[in-house]
Amino acid sequence: MNTTANKKELIIGLAMTGCSLAYLVMAYQLPNHQGVDAATLPLLLAGFLTLLGVLQVFGALASKPALGTERASDTQGELPASPAEAPPASVVEPKTVLLTLGLILGYIALLGPVGFPLMTVVYLYLQFLVLTPVQHKANHLVYLLIAVVCSAVIFLLFRQAFDLMLPAGLLNNFI
C-alpha cells in the first residue's frame, strides 16, 4: 500500500476515534448509572465505536500490502471493464466546494430574515455561476431568469397548493 493511502486511512481512524471518545465523554455525563437505564446504550455504544476507531488506527499503522487492490483485481475477470469504471482523471477543486458550502450557509442563515423568495434568487444565481463548467461561458441573463422563475414558482406553488408557508421575510408586507 502506498503511503498516502495509508496516511488517509490513519486520519480516518483518528477521526473515528475522536468522534467516539467525544460521544463517550458525553455519555458519561448523563445522569443515573444504576442497572440498565437511559445511559446504558450510549455507554455501550460509545465503547464499541471507540474500539472500532482504535482498530482502524492500528489497521492503518500495520502497513501490510494492500489487500483491497488484490481483491479488486480478482473480481475484474468476471465483470467486464466498462468505461464508466475508469473515468478520465478528474480535477478536484476544494475551492468550488468551499464556495458552495459558503453559499449554502449564507442561504440558510439569511432565509429567515430576508425571506425565501429573495434569498432563493440570490442563491441560485450565485450557485449557477460557481458551478458553471470551465469550458462554458456564464450566461448572466439566462441564469437570472431561471433563478427568478424557479424561486417564484416554488414559493407560490408551496404557498397556494401545498399550504406550506415558506418565510417571506422582507416581502412579508407585499405578499
Binding site: 480516518i12 445522569p31 466498462s82 480535477v91 440558510i108 408551496f158
Partner: protein, 506 residues
C-alpha cells in the same frame, strides 16, 4: 383478498391519483436516468408534496416515484454507458456494447420489458408473502423485535461496506445520532445541548435529505466544473415492432429472468442491501449459467435481462419488511417509512388489520405504476433522453432549494434546514472517508427500536437478559447475527473468497 384488492384498484383509479402517479413515474424515471440523482433523492424531495394529500394519494405518489426511479437507471446505462443509479451498474456491461453495435432499441426494449416483469413478479410475491408474514409477526413481542433489529443492523453493517469495520462504525454512529433527544422509558433528555428543538431528536427525513441529497450536491461541486457531461445519443424508433425484440429471444431469456427475479427478491428482502447488490450478483450468476457465457460483456441481451430483472424485483422485496415489520429494506423504503409515519400510519403487522384497505391500495398502486412505467419509458423515451442533457450546474442548485423547502416543510422551522446542512457535511465526510451511508441510516432508524424493545423486554422479564436468548424466535435471530459476524470475520481472514461474497462486500 380479491375483494380488498378490488377496493384498492377502485381507490387508485381516480383521476386525481392516476394523474399524480403518472407525474410520479415520469419524475422517477428522470431521477433514475440522470447520473448523480437517485431514487432516494426523488422520494425524499417529493415527500413534502404529500403532506397535504390523503394517505392514499400520498403513498401512491411515493410508490410511483420508487418504481420509476429504479427502472430509469437503465436509460443512461445503455445510452450514456454510465449507470444512472447503482442498481443498473451491470446493465452497462452489455447494454453499452449493444448500443454501440446499433442494437440500442433492442437493449432498451429488453431492459424495460424485463424491468416490468421483475417488478410485477416481486409485487405478486409481496402480496402473497406479506399477509402471512404479518400474521406471524403479530405474535412478536419486545424480545423478538430487539433481536430482529440487531440482526438487521448486523446484516447491513457487514454486507454493504467495502470494509466491515467501517460498515459497523457507520451503523453504530447512526444509532449514536438517534440517541439524541428524550430517552425512551424514563424520558431523560440526552445530548440535546439545551436546544429545545432537539427534544424530539433529529428528524428522520432531515437526516436523509442531508445524507443523500445535500451531500451529493457538495460532492458534485468537487469535480463538477471539469466533468465532461456525456451527450446522450438518440435512437431511431422507426420500423420498431412491439418492444424491439423477437418472441424467440424473449422465450430464451425466461429461465434467466426467473432466476434473476428470485435473486433480486431475496436480496431485496434482506435489510439494508437491495438492488445495488442484486444486479451484480445476478449478472455474475447469469454469465456462469449461460451456454454463451463468453459473449456476456460484448453485447448479450442476457446481461441486460439479468441486471434489470433483479434490480426491479428488489422493489417488492424491500417493501416486504417495511410493511410487515416496520423495518426498511433499503434507503428508499427508509424514506417511505417516514412517509407512512407522517400520514399517521405505523407500518408493522397491525397495518394489515387496522389499515387493510390502505395496504391493498398500495399494492394496487404498485401494479398500476409498473404498467405506467412500461409504456412511458419506452414510448416517451425521446423526452427522457432530452432531459439527460439538462446541465448539472443548473439542476443541482435547484435541487438544493427543493431540499431546503422539504426540510422546512417537516415542521415549519428553520432548525430542520440547519440539520440538513449538518448531515450534508457528515455525508460528504462519509464519502471522503469511504464510510457507507446506508448502515448509518438504518442504524438511525433501528437504534430507537432496538433500545426501546430492549428496555421493554428487560422490564417484562424482570431485568433478566437470558430471555432474549431462550425465546425461540429472538434467540434464533440473535444466533444468526452472531453466526453471520463470525462467518464474515472468518471469510475475510481467508485469502481466496467466493465471488458472490466478494461482490456483496464491494
Amino acid at each position: 383478498m380479491l375483494e380488498l384488492l378490488q377496493q384498492g384498484f377502485g381507490a387508485v383509479f381516480s383521476l386525481n391519483i392516476m394523474l399524480l402517479m403518472a407525474v410520479g413515474v415520469a419524475m422517477g424515471i428522470v431521477f433514475g436516468a440522470v447520473p448523480g440523482l437517485s431514487a432516494t433523492m426523488a422520494v425524499a424531495l417529493c415527500l413534502p408534496l404529500t403532506f397535504t394529500m390523503g394517505p392514499q394519494a400520498g403513498l401512491s405518489l411515493l410508490v410511483a416515484l420508487f418504481i420509476g426511479a429504479t427502472s430509469g437507471g437503465l436509460i443512461s446505462a445503455i445510452l450514456l454507458k454510465i449507470p444512472g443509479t447503482p442498481s443498473s451498474i451491470a446493465t452497462v456491461f452489455d447494454g453499452g456494447p449493444l448500443m454501440e453495435q446499433g442494437h440500442g432499441v433492442k437493449a432498451l426494449g429488453v431492459g424495460i420489458v424485463f424491468s416490468f416483469l421483475g417488478t410485477i413478479f416481486s409485487i405478486v410475491a409481496l402480496m402473497f408473502i406479506a399477509p402471512q408474514l404479518a400474521k406471524v409477526a403479530l405474535r412478536f413481542g419486545p424480545h423478538e423485535y430487539f433481536a430482529i433489529a440487531v440482526f438487521s443492523l448486523t446484516l447491513i453493517a457487514t454486507l454493504s461496506a467495502g470494509s466491515m469495520l467501517k460498515g459497523l462504525f457507520a451503523g453504530g454512529l447512526g444509532i449514536a445520532v438517534s440517541t439524541v433527544g428524550i430517552a425512551p422509558v424514563e424520558a431523560i433528555r440526552r445530548f440535546t445541548f439545551d436546544f429545545s428543538e432537539l427534544n424530539g431528536g433529529f428528524s428522520m427525513l432531515a437526516v436523509m435529505i442531508g445524507m443523500f441529497a445535500v451531500a451529493e450536491i457538495i460532492k458534485l461541486a468537487e469535480t463538477g466544473r471539469h466533468a465532461v457531461q456525456g451527450k446522450a445519443r438518440s435512437v431511431s424508433m422507426k420500423n420498431i415492432k412491439g418492444f424491439g425484440f423477437s418472441l424467440k429471444e424473449f422465450r430464451e431469456q425466461l429461465p434467466n429472468a426467473g432466476r434473476s427475479g428470485l435473486i433480486g427478491l431475496g436480496i431485496g428482502i434482506l435489510p439494508g442491501i437491495g438492488a445495488g447488490t442484486s444486479n451484480l450478483v445476478s449478472y455474475i450468476i447469469a454469465k456462469k449459467r449461460a451456454k454463451d457465457g463468453h459473449t456476456y460483456g460484448k453485447g448479450n441481451i442476457g446481461g441486460v435481462v439479468a441486471s434489470e430483472t433483479a434490480n426491479n424485483a428488489g422493489i417488492g422485496g424491500a417493501m416486504l419488511p417495511l410493511m410487515t415489520l416496520g423495518i426498511p429494506g433499503d434507503t428508499v423504503t427508509a424514506i417511505m417509512l417516514g412517509g407512512f409515519l407522517i400520514h399517521g400510519i405505523q407500518p408493522g403487522p397491525l397495518l394489515f388489520i387496522s389499515q387493510g384497505p390502505l395496504v391493498y391500495t398500495i399494492f394496487a398502486a404498485l401494479i398500476v405504476a409498473t404498467f405506467m412505467m412500461l409504456f412511458m419509458e419506452f414510448y416517451g423515451l425521446r423526452l427522457f433522453i432530452k432531459l439527460l442533457d439538462v446541465p448539472k450546474h443548473i439542476l443541482l442548485p435547484i435541487i438544493l432549494v427543493l431540499c431546503v423547502v422539504g426540510a422546512f416543510g417537516l415542521s415549519s422551522r428553520l432548525f430542520d434546514v440547519w440539520s440538513i446542512l449538518l448531515f450534508g457535511l457528515l455525508g460528504y465526510g462519509f464519502v471522503k472517508a469511504g464510510l457507507p451511508a446506508a448502515p448509518f441510516i438504518i442504524g438511525f432508524i433501528l437504534g430507537p427500536m432496538a433500545e426501546t424493545n430492549l428496555r421493554r423486554g428487560l422490564m417484562l422479564s424482570d431485568g433478566n437478559f437470558a430471555d432474549f436468548f431462550t425465546t425461540p424466535i429472538a434467540g434464533s435471530f440473535l444466533g444468526l447475527a452472531l453466526a453471520f459476524i463470525i462467518w464474515q470475520v472468518v471469510s475475510s481472514l481467508r485469502t481466496k473468497k467466493s465471488m458472490v461474497s466478494e461482490i456483496l462486500r464491494t
